[in-house]
């Protein structure tokens, strides 16, 4: 066997779909078994990579520092990231950065239930770095492509187990995510047209 366990792939997803991924599960009873969030398009996710606009940072901690960062994608939908003492590098980035700023984030999906019983989905960052506009644009196109691929797999007549799980767990039309991909791409095009 290879000495190192397989590293989880960082999935690409727009905030609209990510924030709908409220169902989580593990594949085994092992305490260290990775926790997966299930995307409504039928992909299990243990890591994400995103590039967006950091619009706001706030220390929401009570005793110790606990930084919230709002990162917005081209549709205006928000990824919420939280970094505290166990993510010192990411926390210090959120402390030091002055929004607005393009950032690239690698992180793990986390869910928590609010007092009202809603499930919120957020990201626990492994790293946050300052990004450029062209990197952001590349991420948008890549994420649109991946989203369309997932939708195609979701609509397949021979779905895999995670598509089957998504069909069972969610009653969310995947058309929403095709629209998210489309509008994100259109916003790039508009920005390019305005620049010309």
């Amino acid at each position: 066997m290879a000495a190192v366990p397989t590293r989880e792939v960082a999935r690409r997803v727009f905030a609209r779909e990510f924030n709908d991924a409220t169902y989580t599960f593990t594949e085994s009873d092992d305490d260290r078994a990775p926790v997966y969030a299930l995307l409504p398009t039928g992909q299990r996710v243990n890591r994400v990579f995103l590039v967006g606009t950091l619009t706001e940072t706030e220390d929401v901690g009570t005793d110790a520092e606990y930084w919230q960062g709002r990162i917005v994608d081209p549709n205006g939908d928000t990824f919420f990231t939280y970094a505290g003492q166990y993510q010192p590098d990411a926390a210090s980035m959120l402390r030091e950065l002055e929004p607005p700023e393009y950032v690239a984030v690698v992180g793990k999906p986390r869910t928590y239930e609010t007092e009202e019983g809603d499930v919120n989905v957020s990201i626990r960052p492994e790293s946050i770095t300052v990004a450029t506009e062209s990197t952001r644009d590349r991420w948008v196109v890549e994420t649109a492509e991946r989203t369309l691929e997932r939708i195609r797999a979701f609509e397949s007549e021979t779905p895999d187990e995670y598509v089957a799980m998504a069909r069972q767990q969610y009653e969310l039309p995947v058309e929403n995510y095709r629209r998210a991909a489309l509008s994100a791409l259109e916003s790039l095009q508009e920005a390019a047209a305005n620049a010309d």
């Binding site: 290879a2 397989t6 792939v9 590098d89 990004a131």
Partner: protein, 311 residues
Amino acid sequence: MTETDLRTHAAEIHEQFAERLDLTVEEVHGRLDTLVNEYKVPTSEARRSVINAYLDEAGMDREELGGGGNERKVISDVETAEEWIDLTAKVVELWEPRSDAVAQVGLLGDETGTIKFTKWSKSELPSLEEGGVYDLRNVVTDEYEGRYSVKLNRTTTIEALDEELEVGDDTAEIEGALVDVQSGSGLIKRCPVEDCTRVLQNGRCSEHGEVDGEFDLRIKGVVDDGERVYEVIFDREATEELTGITLEEAQEMAMDALDTSVVAEEMCKRVLGRYYRVVGPTFGRYVLADEFDEQGAPADPEAVLIKARSM
């Protein structure tokens, strides 16, 4: 075991011996059928046993046998999907199967390169050992997103060979975001003993003990395209080009901070979250970055837009 599979085997074996023995496909099939269906011998073993019996009968060596109609290929020549081929290859790595349907999955290598293989559980084939060299007959090629693999199936025969096989480099070209810089990156010290070059841990070489190490730069990075992850090694020259930090500057930074880890931290800031294209030889699970460039704005957003509208 389906009847069709046995027929296929029988026809192949018949063809292999057609010139030397007066056989009919029926006779071969009969022998296979007895072993498989009466004695419950696995098909690959039955095939082997029947072939050996005919080899004896014909006074032939195994080497004289043709590939049973299959082409014997070297790994770098695999460039069509769904082709039945024979390979002699070494098991370079075994990976953890992600599904119960897969008995073994990993990397096979020969002088010309490496290729992924999958062995299905339902094929009931013998186990391959990491580092073992095998003669594999009747494997099927497959392709996924431009990458080729071979599948071992229930008609595959596996013969362990008592020989060494030098596995050659094959060049990979990968693209994706650099999502992690692993420990052991940045400013490191290597063992100065000739031909050792091991990276020191706390001033110690695992082979030569406490030594006065020589500074070097490297990055062990993870490039992720959203579908697969690749581990990429940037040597000193590549790291200097990638980060814009020279070995000399790195040593100064470490000296000022009285800490070598500042170098890796600064490098992370400069490279994490960016997209790269990397070309270089593969070495186990690593790609050595011979050549790379950062990727800027996407080439063709229009094509994706058309796709999104047409769905």
